[in-house]
């Protein structure tokens, strides 16, 4: 079925919606609403709304539409590319959409699902799923919901939500709008793979209920959306091919695509996600391992071997390049407690970090295959750190954050002398077979440019974050030039310019490195069909 009809909700009184008017007022009382983690700020805007339900949200969007005022939607404002930073008009904060609505089991799919409002955070979702405590549901008084909750609690297994963007205070709606991913995307895919349904408000103020697996593009690539009065909005899906990597640049498309996938990762271009159905997965005990290697090249060889061995099911596969290990060693000397790990072995140059299922009490733990793979790459399991207790695994994760925190602190320090500097990190990914080639391009260019740099990140998805620490504006410009070259190279290798951060408003120029004018025109056409007046989230992905 490629046709769907939107439904209105009973209108609320616009005058009763909590509103802050005037930029000065917003700036003095709600300064944190001016930006997100990108720290981007744009022109003054006029209104800040806090709707408490869908009725109020619809009232705001309709009234703003009537006045010709554009609206930008904010979740938890943890994005990295300014997606929720208003270029004008109004900002609508969805923070009151924070309730868990139901938990239910789908026997056909053999999975438990949660339906939540968009502002529920990842952290809360996982805490609730793991400890099986749902205050919203327990107080709801609905017998059917309570019965399902009891069934869920009676199961002895613990559950979790697999997508793991680093920022756990992100709102679920935000992660769906941006198709967020994280380290575990290596095994479980991005957010898209775990979304089973959404409820979304369109620019006309009406709502679409889109379960996964019900609405598919017609053979000629069309969807038709009807509003409650019978007016039709035909949507032609783009026909470009998606990169064979994890990707957050450009709208998703594929032949016979599911309508839900058009909205997931659209960076809010087509509507406001108010409710989400997500699937949960059984939680297994795991062991985290940092395996040190003799060089970057050895680490990459180990990554390729670990990936190729079908016996091993790693949750994630992360990288610490030689440059990163050197910095961590320095940090350990300066402040061992801040790093909170034993001294990095003297012979270690680089490392890979991964996680796999492990039963600590098993008579014979299944680690033979892993030991074999590591030995076959010429590395020793004695040069590693391993931990499986929850507190140990948390420690490994904290260790992973030492680098980004150090980078932020270093950039902030240098910015004092050179105010034009800012953090320079890449978000490029390439297909598996190009990992080694891309790494050679990076290393050669950065070393011959004489820049201070380091690399770490999601190497399992061939998505290594490069960071150049420019010491002055000359170096900064040099690094920017290199980044543009790297982006072109990644696209040439069949990869993406934005694997997980998105395009938003700060990476517009990268989109054209990856898509032709014609392809971008196809994206614009989708936006125009669904939001003809460009009312919702203007300026994201491409300039209006």
């Amino acid at each position: 079925m490629h046709e769907i009809t939107s439904r209105p909700v009973p209108p609320a009184d616009f005058a009763k919606v909590r509103m802050v008017e005037g930029f000065d007022e917003i700036k003095s009382r709600f300064p944190t609403y001016l930006s997100d983690e990108s720290k981007l700020t744009l022109q003054p805007f006029d209104y800040l709304f806090f709707p408490k339900d869908e009725e109020e949200l619809a009232a705001v969007v309709k009234e703003m539409g009537r006045r010709g005022v554009k609206v930008t939607i904010a979740g938890a404002r943890t994005g990295l590319v300014g997606g929720c930073v208003p270029p004008e008009g109004a900002l609508i904060s969805l923070e009151h959409f924070d309730r868990v609505l139901s938990i239910y089991h789908v026997s056909q799919a053999e999975e438990w699902r949660l339906r939540v409002q968009g502002a529920v955070t990842l952290r809360d979702l996982n805490e609730m799923a793991m400890h099986k405590r749902f205050p919203d549901l327990e107080r709801c008084g609905d017998e059917q919901v309570l019965a399902e909750l009891k069934r869920f609690k009676d199961e002895r297994t613990a559950y979790f939500y697999p997508p793991d963007p680093t920022e756990t205070s992100a709102s679920l709606g935000g992660t769906v709008a941006t198709n967020a991913s994280g380290a575990r995307t290596f095994r479980y895919g991005p957010t898209r793979a775990w979304v089973r349904g959404i409820r979304v408000m369109l620019a006309n103020g009406e709502f679409l209920e889109i379960p996964r697996g019900k609405y598919f593009a017609s053979p000629s690539g069309w969807f038709v959306i009807y509003d409650s009065e019978g007016k039709d909005y035909p949507v032609r899906i783009p026909d470009y091919a998606m990169p064979r990597t994890k990707n957050t640049s450009g709208f998703f498309t594929s032949p016979y695509m599911d309508l839900i996938d058009l909205f997931i990762g659209s960076e809010g271009a087509f509507g406001v996600i108010t409710e989400v159905d997500v699937a949960l997965l059984q939680l297994q005990e795991r062991i985290s391992i940092v395996q040190f290697t003799k060089s970057d090249e050895q680490a990459i060889a180990l990554v390729e071997t670990l990936r190729a061995d079908k016996r091993l099911k790693l949750d994630f596969l992360e990288f610490y390049a030689e440059t990163a290990i050197e910095i961590l060693r320095e940090r350990q000397k300066e402040d061992p407690k801040a790093v909170d790990m034993p001294p990095i072995p003297a012979q270690a140059r680089a490392a890979v970090f991964f996680d796999l299922a492990f039963d600590p009490l098993a008579e014979k733990p299944e680690l033979d295959a892993l030991e074999e793979v590591i030995a076959s790459c010429g590395e020793s399991v004695a040069n590693s750190w391993a931990g499986y207790e929850a507190r140990e695994r948390t420690r490994f994760k904290v260790f992973r954050h030492v680098l980004p925190e150090w980078i932020n602190a270093t950039v902030a320090q240098r910015k004092k002398k050179h105010p034009g500097l800012h953090k320079l990190g890449t978000d490029l990914a390439v297909p598996d077979e190009r990992l080694k080639d891309m790494w050679e391009v990076y290393k050669q260019a950065l070393e011959s440019a004489g820049l201070e740099w380091l690399a770490y990140g999601h190497i399992g998805n061939n998505h290594v974050h490069l960071n150049v620490l420019a010491r002055n504006m000359d170096e900064f410009q040099k690094a920017q030039g290199l980044y543009a070259e790297f982006a072109k190279k990644a696209v040439k290798f069949g990869g993406t310019v934005s694997a997980e951060h998105g395009i938003g408003k700060t990476k517009l120029k990268f989109l054209s490195a990856m898509f032709s004018h014609e392809q971008i025109a196809q994206m614009r056409a989708v936006k125009k069909s669904l939001d003809p007046k460009d009312l919702i989230n203007p300026g994201n992905i491409f300039l209006s």
Binding site: R29, I289, P336, P360, E371, I374, A382, A386, E389, A390
Partner: protein
């Protein structure tokens, strides 16, 4: 030189939750870990082992079958052998019955011991009694709250730097002796994957009550002089007020107004 490190598996808890209906500790969803002070004792054992070639470390625990997990951690961190003393008859043991059982298990499994190391206390019961009681039962000199320790060159004595209120004491005791540890490695050690694999190939002996030279009425609840009547958390503090979404200036004004209104500060 034979070192026995007596350890305990404890729930990993930062705040105690008590089931209001049954009055017992809520253990659901709470992971079990090796008591941190026991890990310190093991740290010292590993250091002593590094200082001499002939040191053999046995990690010993009394507990339910799953306490094997704590022993595996000890084996990963350098113990050569684990001993799990487990039996339903040990249930409800107080510190005395526990000390008696552990002492009997030491005599049974490592009669030629030179040094017994314990943590200064467990983070769940916090009694700090089991170590000293064991020393009494076994007739050993005891040094509590050790932070550094070494064998004298002739291997006849142990020299311990111990914490006291005003500073430190340096004390020597003839061996065999019992020492408790109150500090270990500043940065907790992390085993390697090789250690994790090797730990599961080391000897792990499981013994029951019938293998100890004790009467049944000396074990568990029957052998206990004390009994926990009730566990309860301290009364909860009322939640404070949180100011959100305000600029620093506006928040400061609000706080100052509150402090003035409540007469914490003058006008």
């Amino acid at each position: 030189m034979n070192i026995v490190v007596c350890v305990k598996q404890v729930p990993e808890i930062t705040d105690v939750k008590v089931n209001p209906e049954t009055g017992t500790l809520v253990r659901e969803g709470v992971a079990s870990i090796l008591n941190p002070f026991c890990e310190y004792a093991l740290d010292h054992a590993a250091r002593l082992k590094a200082s001499r070639e002939d040191v053999h470390i046995t990690a010993l625990t009394m507990g339910p079958p799953q306490a094997r997990g704590a022993l595996l951690r000890c084996l990963e961190l350098g113990a050569d052998r684990g001993v799990l003393v487990t039996d339903r008859k040990f249930a409800g043991a107080d510190t005395w019955a526990t000390a008696l059982t552990l002492s009997a298990a030491v005599k049974r499994t490592e009669p030629e011991y030179d040094l017994i190391l314990v943590g200064k206390q467990a983070i769940d019961g916090d009694t700090a009694q089991v170590g000293p009681e064991m020393a009494e039962i076994l007739g050993l000199p005891q040094i509590m709250y050790g932070v550094e320790m070494e064998f004298t060159p002739n291997g006849k004595r142990v020299r311990v730097k111990r914490e006291v209120e005003a500073g430190y004491q340096l004390i020597e005791a003839r061996l065999p002796a019992l020492v408790s540890a109150s500090k270990g490695e500043r940065i907790r050690r992390v085993p390697s994957l090789a250690d994790v694999i090797a730990a599961r190939q080391k000897e792990l002996l499981v013994i029951s009550a019938s293998e100890l030279d004790l009467d049944e009425n000396q074990l568990g609840l029957m052998g206990s002089f004390t009994q926990v009547v009730k566990i309860f958390p301290p009364s909860e503090k009322k939640g404070g007020r949180r100011l959100e979404g305000l600029s620093p200036e506006a928040a400061a004004k609000e706080i100052a107004a509150y402090l003035r209104a409540e007469q914490f500060i003058g006008d």
